[in-house]
């Protein structure tokens, strides 16, 4: 059995702390020769965004090199307005594979035998230390998203972060404050506002412009979720695979030995679903005008399922036995975590909006309205519109260049995440709760307020 080590300080702490606080400019491990970056037809180097990619699992590698969910053929590495400078993962094989593929791609693009301008890192603080990196893409285990994003913002980087963007309300608040203080650009990876042919935007604009009459109810098709550990640690231990930095993977979570599990999260840490629900609730929040808005009450509905009947560990997917919730918003709209009975559209990242004169259901595959005429009538010039972009990654990069706020800025993303987290806390506590969105705290439930944060493990006390 592996012995329990509560903390382990890195031997490179001081060097890295300098880097993470942005106090000094460190020499980058590799400098891209200017001659190779400004060829005819290419974006000149001065306009190219230097990027680092941290977290190279399915999602991170997909963003980097292309995949079904990245919406950019060939990924960021194929974009001429981006220069990939660093790849980082706590698994050696992943980072070396990504490094090799990026270097091969650049060599091919430049028509040369080899290229070594992409560096691979185990410790993300070394990436934060590089002054030539403008922006980072983070695709991390849930518990790392907010702390690492916050550190990156403090180091002067712009950040694109995959969901869930925070696992506690306090983390989200800290993220928003840091982004504002440091004047950085941040984009949450809830791509449905931008992608999927504008179906979600259309639903949002139709609802906001009263095409279904007054909005009364929304069905979100997905349980919310929250950090709600049944136990923080375990004595179960197996050998750490070679090339895997378990201590770094664990990061701010309390110490536990490696138990063979290190995917998106650890079993037993979450109630409900924090992984897919951000897509659903992002669209709900966008549409429940005004935006950003927030629920003021969460009504808990117990499940009829027996505890432990689900095959899912919690967090990554919903668990029926955790129950359901119904949110009440300040403008009277009620949002249900359940599907609209009998409606097939909405399950895939979507929602069903019910108004006094009709109903619209939308997801990644389709949008339908009842009556059908709602969808046939185009929006008029006088109708209110929402933020427009048809490329999520394109919007991030454009905002890095122009410093405009992104379509999923931290305020928006945190409002959504907070709605999910307070719903999850209600499920965890098995009781209904009242919420003050201005103060970011529950009303009249002091125990629930104790669940808005957790104590991170040093040195990750962001």
């Amino acid at each position: 059995m592996q012995s329990i080590q509560p903390y382990r300080m890195s031997t490179r702490r001081q060097f890295l702390k300098i880097a993470a606080t942005g106090a000094v400019a460190l020499t980058a491990p590799s400098v891209i020769p200017a001659s190779i970056l400004g060829r005819a037809g290419q974006v000149p180097p001065s306009e190219r965004i230097g990027m680092g990619f941290i977290g190279l699992g399915g999602q991170g590698t997909g963003h980097l090199l292309g995949g079904a969910w990245t919406y950019v053929p060939g990924g960021y590495a194929a974009r001429t307005d981006v220069q990939v400078l660093a790849v980082c993962d706590v698994r050696r094989e992943r980072r070396e594979q990504a490094q090799e593929r990026c270097n091969q791609m650049y060599a091919q693009r430049l028509g040369q035998a080899a290229y070594d301008g992409v560096e691979a890192y185990n410790d993300f603080r070394e990436v934060l230390a590089r002054p030539d990196i403008d922006a980072l893409l983070l695709a991390l285990p849930y518990h790392w998203a907010a702390p690492m994003a916050t550190m990156a913002l403090r180091a002067g980087k712009d950040v694109y972060c995959e969901k869930p963007i925070a696992i506690t309300v306090r983390e989200g608040q800290r993220l928003v404050e840091t982004c504002r203080h440091f004047g950085r650009v941040y984009q949450a990876g809830t791509q449905q506002r931008s992608e999927y042919g504008g179906k979600f935007r259309l639903a949002c604009e139709l609802v906001r412009n009263g095409r279904i009459g007054q909005l009364k109810e929304v069905y979100a098709y997905r349980q919310p979720g929250a950090l709600f550990p049944s136990a923080w640690t375990s004595e179960h231990a197996v050998p750490v695979p070679p090339g895997f930095d378990w201590d770094m993977w664990l990061g701010p979570l309390p110490w536990r030995p490696f138990g063979g599990e290190a995917g998106h999260t650890l079993s037993g840490l979450f109630v409900g679903d924090v992984n897919w629900s951000p897509h659903h609730y992002d669209i709900v929040q966008w549409t429940v005008n005004p935006d950003p808005t927030a629920p003021i009450e969460v009504q808990y509905e117990p499940s009829r399922e027996k505890p432990g009947t689900s095959a899912h560990p919690g967090g990554a997917a919903g668990r029926p036995e955790d129950g359901q919730v119904h949110y009440r918003y300040a403008n009277g709209v009620v949002v249900h975590s359940t599907p609209y009975p009998g409606e097939n559209i909405g399950h895939d990242g979507g929602a069903c909006f019910v108004g006094t004169q009709g109903r619209i259901a939308v997801d990644r595959g389709a949008i339908v309205s009842y009556p059908a005429s709602i969808l046939k009538e185009p929006l008029r010039p006088d109708d209110a519109r929402v933020y427009f972009t048809d490329s999520h990654s394109g919007n991030f990069l454009e905002c890095v260049r122009t410093r405009r706020p992104t379509i999923c800025n931290p305020e928006v993303a945190t409002y959504t995440m907070n709605a999910i987290l307070i719903g999850g806390i209600a499920m965890g506590l098995e009781r209904s709760l009242k919420w003050d969105p201005g103060k970011h705290e529950f009303v009249g439930d002091e125990q629930a307020n104790r669940l808005l944060s957790y104590a991170p493990r040093p040195p990750w006390t962001v």
């Binding site: 709600f228 049944s230 410093r403």
Partner: protein
């Protein structure tokens, strides 16, 4: 310590659901765990529970754990959240007791910072001066969060930090904390002090990030200096501050700053001009002359910002310029211009848009005509019709597309005329689409059908054939008469089209007519077309008994087995005992057995929840007659819907990924055959991490359009029937002992037990091989085996296999 050495009641307490309502004595139980020899996991769970339910009573025992390496983190996790002053005092008291354990002390300092108690400022003072850099930095951060009274301490620390690189790091954190404190200062004095702090940090050596924080703080706090600060930053001489200003101007509500900046417009770099435009648009105050000027800029981003700005300015005179950008600009400019043409509003805009259409060249004309549709301009019918017959194809298509979008009833007759004049299918296609839209949205069906029928009647056969499908769009009684009458025409092509149109009818009215037509048709092709149509329109019949009767009638006149199969396939959609009976009747016919079996199973699946006995009997009947793997699988699943209680196969070997150049998509790669499927081929196998589900996307990150294979060995005590339950992302093919037992070529996400297959296990080792496809995104699989009663198979073992 093992659980069995704990008293039983402690175990029970440990296993209590954390969120359940606290019992009166629960806090004491949790305290008892912390005071016992329970293991770390149990103590951590107790701390977690005390964080939620703990009172001041818990604080002494939690405090006692703060100094122990194993428990310190969990104890402070609880104490950090307890809303009692004693908790803060306990944390502060632990500072001295952990002075020889800097890592524990760092955590305690952090928790003190989050509690934000002013009493903590003094105890943190010596730590701010600690020679241990980690502790000093953590203390500075904690003081930053406490704010208020910590300002003096942090200012002093900032002033004293000079020299070596290490202290530069410290100073950077101190500066950040100081600026954080400044945010918490209120009132006139507070604002003055906050400005002073920001100004002093800006005047000192500081990192770029910290300078930005200080600069933003100063702009937001010092109203008098803000315009000059922003103007200077926007000039671009200091790149960091310029980028900060580009963001900040878009957040500002202070008009004086924006007005001051606009005065420098001509001297500003383009990106600063774009930010100023955005900021003014946000406030609804964008100055038109500057927007027009920006529209002519050589900078693309500025032009796009100007186009976005124009959308909110009621400026009809800008329409020709916007149309030019929409027609000939760069991609992002074209999109922005098209959006602006759609959204431009205000007096005179519509008239200017119509006037611009007349003078524009064909490419710009097309852009403007499309805008009329996108703007839902219901008065634009005449203008659009004027160009719907234009020679220039882009113009014609744009006008017709807008007419389709608007679907104006008054455009029906002119569009029918256009259709009559169309010279080719290419020409009529967009006209026809517009006509369909008009028919579908017509508020006056009688008038519409009258016009359409008259137009068809007055057309020559060739044109009539092109217009006949409109009758199906109308779907009325008179339209049906017209369509039926066309089936009696002497022109054979017209007859064929009329039969096809009847087969696309939106209700079941033509079903019997088509069946009769099929029965007496001498032309085999017409017979098949009519019969197919009869089956298809039967699907619209809501009364299931009538629908079954219609399909039985269709089957009775069918001349070939494939026609009967078609009717059976439609029968499969009906959820009724009558339909099931009809399907089962055909099981006995050898040429229809498989189709009838499939239909019977589909029907039985629908009625299973209401009449499980009937569904079970049907499944048994089908299993006795049918051999098709899919039918058998579904029949088995219908017969047995057990509550599954079997363990997952957790020991796998994996090989892959395999791909073939040029083959893309999960369903395409499914068809490829790779080494693991070939006998005697050399295959590299590696063990997977032991888990219920194999996450292939983690094992092979970033791969798409490929497959991986999973191998396991199942040892059975005896020959037995069993169910293999599987989930996969994406598709799945399965071999047991080299025979295919399951095949599902899909692109999907994994749901546990989403597929089932009946299998026969043989005594001893059984080889299980899974092929899992990957189009893109998630990639995973899981499998388990249960008896046919849904329970565990006694003695079944999954052995780790050696590669």
């Amino acid at each position: 310590m093992s659980l069995i050495r704990l008293p039983f009641f402690l175990m029970l307490v440990c296993l209590l659901r954390i969120g359940s309502t606290a019992r009166a004595d629960e806090e004491q139980d949790q305290i008892a765990i912390l005071q016992s020899a329970a293991n770390l996991a149990q103590k951590s769970a107790a701390c977690q529970r005390l964080r939620v339910i703990g009172t001041a009573k818990s604080i002494p025992v939690l405090a006692s754990l703060l100094t122990q390496e194993g428990t310190s983190h969990f104890a402070r996790h609880a104490l950090e959240a307890l809303p009692f002053p004693e908790a803060g005092a306990a944390l502060r008291a632990a500072l001295a007791r952990t002075s020889d354990k800097p890592q524990l002390q760092a955590g305690i300092i952090d928790s003190i910072g989050w509690r934000r108690e002013p009493e903590s400022i003094e105890p943190l003072r010596p730590l701010l001066a600690s020679t241990n850099l980690d502790l000093a930095i953590t203390a500075a951060s904690a003081l930053g969060r406490i704010g208020g009274g910590a300002v003096a301490l942090l200012r002093s620390a900032n002033d004293q930090s000079h020299g070596a690189p290490v202290s530069m790091v410290f100073r950077s954190v101190v500066q950040e904390s100081l600026l954080q404190c400044a945010e918490t200062l209120h009132g006139a004095d507070g604002t003055r002090l906050a400005s002073e702090i920001c100004r002093s940090v800006l005047s000192q050596p500081a990192s770029e990030s910290i300078r930005v924080v200080a600069w933003r703080g100063l702009v937001l706090r010092d109203a008098r200096s803000a315009p000059d600060l922003v103007r200077t930053a926007l000039s671009g001489r200091d790149r960091s501050l310029q980028r900060a200003a580009l963001g900040l101007v878009r957040e500002l509500d202070d008009a004086s700053i924006l007005v001051a900046c606009l005065g420098d417009w001509d001297d500003l770099p383009a990106e600063s001009q774009a930010a100023l435009l955005d900021a003014n648009v946000r406030r609804g105050k964008a100055p038109l002359p500057l927007v027009r000027k920006a529209l002519d800029s050589s900078n693309l981003a500025l032009r796009v910002a100007a186009l976005d700005a124009l959308a909110d300015l009621a400026d009809p005179s800008s329409i020709p310029s916007v149309a030019k950008s929409a027609a000939r600009g760069e991609a992002s400019e074209r999109e922005a211009a098209a959006r602006t043409l759609t959204r431009l509003r205000g007096p005179g805009v519509r008239e200017a848009l119509l006037a611009a259409i007349d003078t524009a060249d064909p490419v710009e004309k097309a852009v403007l005509l499309r805008a009329l549709g996108a703007r839902a301009d219901r008065q634009a019918g005449d203008t659009l019709l004027r160009f719907a017959g234009a020679e220039a194809q882009p113009v014609r298509l744009a006008a017709l597309e807008s007419l389709r979008q608007l679907a104006l009833p008054e455009t029906l007759a002119p569009l029918l005329d256009l259709a009559a004049k169309a010279k080719s299918d290419d020409q009529i296609d967009p006209v026809f689409k517009a006509l369909v839209a008009v028919c579908q949205s017509s508020p006056n069906t009688t008038e519409t059908e009258g016009r359409v029928i008259a137009a068809i009647r007055n057309s020559a056969p060739a044109e009539r054939r092109l217009l006949l499908p409109l009758l199906a769009e109308l779907g009325t009684a008179d339209a049906l008469i017209a369509a039926r009458s066309a089936t009696q025409d002497s022109n054979s092509e017209l007859v064929r089209t009329a039969v096809r149109v009847l087969g696309q009818w939106p209700n079941p009215e033509p079903a019997l007519y088509l069946t009769d037509f099929a029965q007496f048709a001498t032309d085999l092709g017409l017979h098949a077309l009519a019969l197919r149509g009869a089956v298809e329109v039967s699907a619209h019949e809501q009364d299931t008994a009538k629908r079954v009767a219609l399909l039985e009638k269709a089957m009775s006149v069918a001349r070939r087995a494939d026609e009967k199969r078609l009717a059976l396939a439609q029968m499969a959609q009906i959820s009724s005992a009558d339909a099931l009976e009809t399907a089962l009747k055909n099981l006995a016919k050898p040429d229809l057995a498989e189709e009838a079996g499939l239909a019977a199973i589909a029907i039985a699946e629908k009625i299973a929840s209401a009449d499980s006995a009937l569904a079970d009997a049907a499944a048994a009947n089908v299993l006795a007659r049918c051999k098709a793997a899919e039918t058998v699988r579904r029949a088995w699943a219908l017969r047995r819907t057990p509550a599954i209680n079997g363990p997952f196969i957790r020991h796998w070997l994996v090989s892959g990924p395999y791909r073939q150049a040029g083959v893309e998509g999960a369903t395409a790669v499914f068809e490829l055959t790779f080494a693991p499927e070939k006998a005697d081929a050399k295959v590299d196998w590696k063990p997977t991490p032991v888990a219920d589900q194999v996450d292939l996307s983690s094992l092979f990150p970033g791969h798409a359009n490929c497959v991986a294979y999973l191998r396991a060995e199942i040892v059975a005590e005896q020959d037995s029937d069993a169910l293999l339950l599987m989930g996969s992302d994406d598709g799945l093919k399965v071999w047991l002992n080299d025979a295919v037992v399951h095949s599902n070529n899909v692109d999907r996400g994994l749901i546990v037990d989403q597929d089932r297959a009946p299998i026969r296990l043989r005594k001893g080792a059984n080889r299980l091989l899974l092929k899992v496809t990957q189009g893109g995104g998630g990639w995973a699989a899981c499998a388990r085996i249960a008896g046919i009663d849904g329970q565990r198979v006694p003695g079944l073992r999954i052995e780790p296999v050696q590669p």
